[in-house]
Assembly symmetry: C2
Homo-oligomer: 213 residues x 2
DNA sequence: TCTCATAATGGGGCATCTCTCATTTTAGAG
DNA sequence: CTCTAAAATGAGAGATGCCCCATTATGAGA
């Protein structure tokens, strides 16, 4: 499924490679200087291409922004998926997902910083990020773990907490903030502080098994 | 204390008036188009002044941004103060303050929208906004209402929820989101959903007495 | 009424950014 | 090796924005 390269003509292969050079350059720069703080010509230069070449691969700047953000959220979700689905309770999935997401953003700061920039400069990214969250929350509600029902405002609140967690972590805060953000999620969803703590603790062994992979 | 005008020479009075015209124009435009989306020449034009006049009153753009943000946060705090201080419990103050703040932002959307823009384009505003919040939270911790201790991350989380509340409200959500944001604050601080609800309900009569002023 | 410090003007220098296009370079196909 | 389509180039048009400054207008006080 991954090895499509064989079926590409040399011409197509080159096109794909150049496009990827641009996307990777854009990710590097945008995560450092922010999305709006990065110009098209900087991206081209970083990719060792001329200014105009950019426009043979992307209609305009917004198109590469969307591509980069999508690539990053996809990469982050891939980094999580398998482990989360082994948990049966919605509450555990929420706690685990939140903590994982923050930890991945911290371990891969290029991704994390891009997310931070995208939160303010490419709002559409929220939909991608919240996609997995909605399912876990809905599951928890269905199972009766949470008293809060799922609506836009609850999701926005959880996203806001997630964002604060990533930001703190990138700013040098200890890994503990990931765990706290996870418990805050559960509390907002209606669980008591004690229950939230217990559920989150239970996910820790899964987290540790990942750390030692 | 307000009537300082009498002691101003005509020249000084004119200077003050012109400066205020600029600040008000800036507030109008920035709340509509965002801080970064508003240019100095647009501000000058809106204030019916020439481009260069701006620089007789502000060193640069960032100076008027700071002035406008400070003016708005001050105005909002003034709109709240008296009522909040009549509450004795930290938890009640937090709930009341949060709900009030969101309601004021919704009632005065020019202020609210400026805040939204400032959250992303003038980060220093967070310090001003959180100043009152820190005191209320600290009081609640001291009284044992909250299990969570006060640190930067908790404050950032509360700010993030506040922001989500204002944004939702400005986006047309019902007043209910203010109350929910208030309860989320209490839950994050460690109160059970039931206690949070009770405390927040108790503040409602104060809120209503204000609505009918 | 006249003077001159202060207020206001607005054109433009300089920097930056997006996107275009006429031209050159590259490399696969025959 | 040659031909040619695709890839890449990079100068620059067109916009916009910040800020400066030489110049003009105003109005308070003598």
């Amino acid at each position: 499924m991954t090895g499509r390269k064989a079926s590409l003509s040399p011409r197509e292969a080159k096109r794909v490679r150049t496009r990827q050079r641009l996307t990777e350059a854009a990710l590097r720069l945008m995560s450092e200087r922010g999305i709006n703080g990065t110009s098209v010509s900087e991206i081209a230069t970083e990719a060792e291409l001329a200014n105009g070449t950019f426009y043979l691969y992307f209609k305009d700047k917004s198109e590469i922004v969307a591509a980069v953000c999508q690539a990053v959220t996809l990469a982050m979700h891939n980094e999580m998926d398998s482990r989360r689905l082994s948990l049966e309770e919605g509450s555990a999935r929420v706690a685990f997902g939140t903590q994982q997401f923050i930890e991945i953003a911290a371990a891969e700061p290029t991704w994390g910083r891009l997310l931070m920039s995208a939160f303010t400069e490419f709002e559409a990214i929220k939909d991608d990020i919240s996609r997995y969250m909605r399912l876990d929350v809905a599951l928890g509600v269905e199972q009766g773990c949470f008293t809060e029902s799922v609506d836009e405002f609850v999701i926005d609140t959880l996203l806001a907490i997630l964002r604060a967690g990533i930001e703190a972590r990138l700013g040098g805060a200890k890994a503990e903030v990931g765990a706290r953000a996870a418990e805050y999620h559960l509390r907002v969803l209606g669980m008591s502080a004690a229950d939230a703590h217990r559920v989150r603790l239970a996910t820790d062994k899964v987290v540790e098994s990942q750390a030692s992979r």
